[in-house]
Amino acid sequence: MKALYKHEMSSYLTSPIGYIVIALLVMFGGIFTSYISLKGGSGRFEYVLGNMSFVYIIIIPVLTMRSFAEERRQKTDQLLYSLPLSSVEVVLAKYLAMLTVLLIPIVIVGLFPLILMAYGTVNIVSAYAALGAFYLLGMALIAVGMFISSVTDNQIVAAVITLGLLLLNYFLSSLSRILVSASAEVSLIGFLVLAVLFGLVVFLLTKNWIAAGISSLAAVIAVLVTYFVNRNSYANLLMLAMDESSLFGRMFNFMYETFRLIDAVIFLGVAVVFTVMTVQSLEKRRWSA
């Protein structure tokens, strides 16, 4: 596993990708710090981080797109499978390498509050809490991108899907505002659509219509049952759900010095879930490649 990690690290650092990721994050860190702190005179570094979180929409797809898709296209995945490494080790080595690449610009940006402190007051606790959250958000998003890369053998497709998902997630909070004072029926329809989409995702992952049908049907029934049992709670439920599933929205919480442990736990949870799903995706490939 150490060997693969080393190999991945040197791949990132001998190709432009690692440097693009590092440069973009440091550049936007610099721009927002100049704009908010130097020009705007704010000592709240968490503002800088919250505002620059959109950079992830660009750098995460760049960082993750190759991870598994390119191995499959070049057929080098066969080497990884035939080496004495388990799928878990392969996924972890790649994931840790990406986290390390991301850590480099985070550490550089982490110097900024210290520099600012020389010229004014900075709330160091909230600044570094936000920086930690910023990294955790990155961990969650990398796991998502890595999973997408593991289900395709085309890195461009992986990048575009990841970009689309992150963009949607970024605007999810704002989009949910459309649904303010929406009726329970609107929520119901929304959830039914999601239940069907869930079945579609299951199909894409398993290529099995029966499994997809059953999971879709189960989700539809669950939605209908909860709707008829407690109809009132359905009002605004869709808006609430959209708001809650916005990872970027959780990052924005840190901007207002509201450190909620639950946000950090959810970032980690998403990271774990998608890492496990990536392992499953590799295992599935061994069955049906």
């Binding site: 150490k2 060997a3 693969l4 080393k6 190999h7 040197s10 791949s11 001998t14 190709s15 070049q74 057929k75 080098t76 995945d77 066969q78 080497l79 499978y81 035939s82 080496l83 004495p84 490494l85 388990s86 061994r286 069955w287 049906s288 490649a289």
Partner: protein, 343 residues
């Protein structure tokens, strides 16, 4: 002692059966050739043996380790070169081999000597600091072979190792493979018969996911070289031609007989085992003369190993003449159906 043991291995892709109840064992220190037309299941079987693919059912052990139950232990005994060499274009030859050696858990102090050894064996030393993507196809193939050899694994599995090489390189790689004999067990797949014939001690012929023959190349050849066929046009009724052959050749090992009609008489095709073809032609001539049956034309045919292979695997690309001959295959091939040589 058999180092690879495969029992009832089956791989199914949806409705397609890629490997169908395959069983064989591979003896230590020997070189096995896996022969079969494209799509016969060679690569699938190799991918299963090396842990790249899971099987639908059946078991496979490498050096006593079950590839499905103890994959890590089993994989430590294997060096694998897949159909497409799994090399990273953005790495140099040395970096790549270094990575593979570390991943195969070669002890740190031996890594340098292993890299040197495998580069030496495959003739890639002069390119050690070149990026692999700048190498020609042949050299990439060599780097792939170096990857399989690194760590000196007991079992080396090579999927079409000479594809894309020039004739000179092919000879070199064949010599390299032959030199592995004794210390290593090698399985190489190919659809080139002469290649298998020149380096392998055992041949496994596979078709539609099934083993159709497992024997030494010499035995396979002997078995089929023993068959001599005669095609003759006799000026008589088909019934009479049949009676005539059965009456005169009943003492000989008659393997198959087929009588049809042609424009000028009966077309007689028959196969005899272990008979001198010249002798056979002569006795047919005199026997026919005694019976006052005119032989309008006569041709003796021998089966080459290529034809054996084509017949066994039912390859469609056989020349037209052979296609015609196909109906004439003896019902029961002489070679054992399933692993006659397995000890």
């Amino acid at each position: 002692m058999s180092v690879i043991e495969v029992k009832h291995l089956t791989k199914r892709y949806g409705k397609h059966l890629a490997v169908d109840d395959l069983s064989f064992s591979v003896e230590e220190g020997e070189i096995y050739g896996f022969l079969g037309p494209n799509g016969a299941g060679k690569s699938t079987t190799m991918n299963i043996l090396t842990g790249c693919l899971a099987a639908t059912s059946g078991e496979a052990t490498i050096n006593g380790f079950d590839i499905f139950e103890e994959p890590k232990e089993a994989k430590k005994c294997i060096g694998y070169l897949p159909e497409i060499p799994p090399v990273y274009g953005s790495r140099t030859v040395r970096e790549y081999l270094q990575f593979v050696a570390e991943a195969k858990k070669v002890p740190a102090e031996n890594i340098e000597s292993e890299i040197q050894r495998t580069m030496g064996l495959t003739g890639t030393k002069e390119y050690e600091n070149r990026l692999i993507r700048h190498l020609s196809k042949g050299y990439r193939q060599r780097v792939g072979i170096a990857e399989a050899l690194i760590g000196d694994p007991k079992v080396i599995i090579l999927d079409e190792p000479t594809v894309g090489l020039d004739p000179q390189q092919i000879v070199e790689i064949r010599e390299l493979i032959a030199s592995l004999k004794g210390g290593h067990t090698v399985i190489l797949s190919s659809h080139i018969l002469s290649e298998v014939q020149s380096v392998c001690e055992k041949v496994i012929i596979i078709d539609h996911g099934r083993i159709v023959a497992l024997d030494t190349p010499e035995n396979l050849e002997k078995t089929f070289r023993q068959s001599t066929s005669i095609h003759a046009v006799l000026e008589c009724e088909p019934e009479r031609a049949r009676e005539f052959v059965e009456a005169h050749f009943s003492g000989l090992p008659l393997k198959g007989i087929d009588v049809g009609t042609s424009e000028s008489g009966s077309l007689l095709k028959f196969t005899l085992g272990d008979v001198d073809e010249k002798e056979l032609a002569r006795s047919l001539f005199f026997a026919a003369a005694d019976e006052r049956i005119a032989i309008l034309s006569m041709e003796t045919k021998r089966l080459s190993l290529e034809e054996v292979f084509l017949k066994l695997t039912g390859e469609k690309t056989a020349p037209a003449e052979m296609q015609q001959e196909k109906e004439f295959i003896p019902e029961e091939p002489e070679i054992p159906e399933n692993g006659g040589e397995a000890r």
